[in-house]
Symmetry: C2
Subunit: 413 residues, 2 copies
């Protein structure tokens, strides 16, 4: 079979993680090796960079810097939250994409992101097929939320989970230095799925974790929450709570919405955050003790200084395999992870149709939540523990991280 | 000279750091080696443990666990915030201490903490002298605030500074992924001194740091702050601000206090959260852009997973030297750090009279603050950079930190 010859373009989309650049490194370095790929472009700010013909010639980058991408957090090429219209309603963007693809003879399209990005990827794939333009389209997964469908787990999750568990272990000790009462509430990311908040249970598994864990999969009751905190407090004087920013009450309102009016992002999602302060205040009123609300905020998704080596390697592999699959002739898929059978953890890639993953969320399994709705089971620990193994961190210069420095040479128009 | 023979007791006091246990390790391991020290006691919750005869026999601990203390954050023996009375007004506690010291033949007292703890140490020292009870008293410094008098720097500062600078570098990249406007405000600890907030400038030195830095040494003006943020924002679209929790306005009010009046929600409730949330709200009102307030909270003082090896080694040395000095016959001192002359950084210990350090704060030097009052100079970078060198982290088990596990065998009464 003769291989499809042409340029490739790669884009990053959605909220960054500490390993999304590891996937970029995998895609770019593998693409640069492939003879059939004539040019390797990196889109500035995802799909928008393609629409605006704003992309970089990745062959101009040093190999050393491309390797450093593995430990450089955030989206090195720039990300975007841009929702493509339904092509049946408005195909302007799609026609423009086709125009750009034709102009640069782009025959490979790799798109790295979460649910929304897989939707974008899927729409582009279907449009190109309909237009009869031969182009291999491949989604590369990414999200600390770990909520992509049909994959065992997502690149980005392991490192964020390791950061959350480690930080909670440290604060557990800190919160116990005085023999006076104290309640500490951690607010952890996860819009609709509790995977990352559940990672706090890894700290409990080591003996330094939260007493109570609240996931968005179970409707949140302030009254039940306060009762449960009071029960632990009255018994031990110290309470650690892990709380997902995505928790909603029975009426479907986010806890954060109770305190502040929210700005919406361009997908119409509410901007979350601030729940820790609201809960801390409620606990203070109830127990009249010292309460700390700790919001991990952006820290949890960019802490490459305490990355999971397993996660970094798998993120790289997801990018690398996307290119290999595409060159082999596969298209219209997302690269997904599958655990091999056996007692030892081994992860391999598989392909999942973009249709299947676009806009489908994988929630935290209800059977892994305890019957009180305030903790997770051993099954989750078994699932998550392999994902946080191994240490990854950037090399240091002057005692501080040395991140990748890309030249970002614009492709010739 | 015959050495003073007797037991020693060691206590931890004040807010913990990620390396206060490294000093504990130094004191305990050195004391266990000394023939003239008959027993090594660790006080539970500092001075209170002595008053209540609640202390541990440290000879019962495994060497391996004592070594692990070097990378175990927080105060392993428990801390306390307990202010001893003026002995001329009320000497109850002092008489009780003397009673306990006599009962256990305690002839060495090591106390590890910041300003208040050195005050405690000083008072105990003076009382024992006055009572004619021979006891060597030695203060061991500790504070992430770096505000102890007469020492070049304090154990705990280097690691907290490394954490702050590294985390800000990571968030710098994260905050730049979208090409839309964004303001990020970091709230950093330091009640009256700006040392730790200034550490954010180390991130700027590497090219990934804050545009504006506000220290408590300069009165804070909300109007000036908003103007300065707006100026950077209008020029670049991205602003990073490092802000000390200790900043006060011209009237001496903390920003967090101002907030209670400044920002009421629609129900008339005070806006929740610390200074970061208040400033974020004010910036949002002014610029109508996306604003994130990030409070490092407890995370910044217990992040032993990204410790400075220099700091850990020096913290150990401070403890070790306290014992050596005391055995040599020194008393009534705090162990302090001095930089050796020369281009290469070398740190040695010296002794400072407890009188001199008790309750005296070392503020951030005004000459190291830029003339706009919103940044620091190169002199600070030269000062701080050596303190964050080298990597320290706990060994891992299951991909998570393995902290020291002490047996805490209570001493026989």
């Amino acid at each position: 079979m003769s291989k499809l010859k042409g340029a490739c373009i790669f884009g990053q989309s959605g909220g960054p993680t500490s390993v999304i650049n590891a996937s970029a490194s995998g895609v770019i370095q593998e693409a640069l090796k492939q003879d059939c790929i004539t040019e390797v472009y990196g889109a500035a700010h995802g799909i928008r960079g393609i629409l605006e013909e704003n992309f970089y010639d990745m062959s101009k980058e040093d190999k050393y810097e491309l390797d450093l991408l593995k430990t450089t957090p955030s989206s090195a090429l720039g990300s975007v939250r841009y929702k493509l219209a339904d092509p049946d309603v408005d195909d302007t963007d799609y026609k423009r994409l086709l125009e750009v693809f034709k102009k640069y003879n782009i025959r490979y399209f790799f798109y790295n992101g979460g649910n929304d990005s897989m939707d974008t990827c899927n729409k582009v794939s279907k449009f190109m097929q309909k237009a009869g333009y031969e182009c291999r389209v491949m989604g590369v997964p990414k999200t600390i939320d770990n909520d992509l469908w049909a994959t065992d787990h997502c690149p980005g999750y392991g490192s964020a989970a390791k950061y959350v568990a480690t930080s909670i272990m440290e604060v557990y000790l800190d919160a116990r230095v005085y023999d006076t009462g104290m309640v500490t509430i951690f607010e952890i990311m996860g819009r609709n799925a509790g995977w990352l908040t559940a990672a706090s249970a890894l700290a409990s598994y080591k003996g330094y974790g939260p007493d109570l864990i609240y996931l968005p999969e179970i409707p949140f009751s302030m009254e039940k929450f306060l009762d449960e905190v009071a029960e632990v407090y009255n018994r031990t004087g110290k309470v650690l709570v892990a709380f997902s920013e995505g928790c909603k009450d029975e009426q479907g309102r986010y806890i954060a919405e109770m305190g502040a009016e929210l700005s919406k992002d361009s997908f119409g999602h509410a901007q979350l955050g601030g729940a820790a302060a609201i809960l801390a205040n409620a606990v203070k009123q109830r127990l009249n003790t010292k309460v700390r609300g700790i919001e991990f905020s952006l820290l949890q998704r960019c802490a490459s200084h305490i990355g999971s080596l397993t996660d970094v390697n798998e993120a790289y592999m997801a990018g690398e395999m996307a290119v290999k699959y595409a060159v082999e002739g596969k298209t219209d898929y997302m690269v997904a992870f599958e655990r091999e059978e056996g007692s030892e953890y081994k992860c391999k890639t598989k392909l999942v149709k973009l249709d299947e993953v676009a806009n489908t969320e994988k929630k935290f399994p209800l059977e892994w939540i305890n019957k009180e709705g305030n903790g997770v089971t051993e099954d989750f620990i078994k699932y998550a523990l392999p994902l946080i193994q191994g240490e990854s961190a950037p090399p240091k210069e002057d005692g501080l991280p040395r991140f990748a420095k890309l030249k970002k040479v614009l492709a010739k128009k």
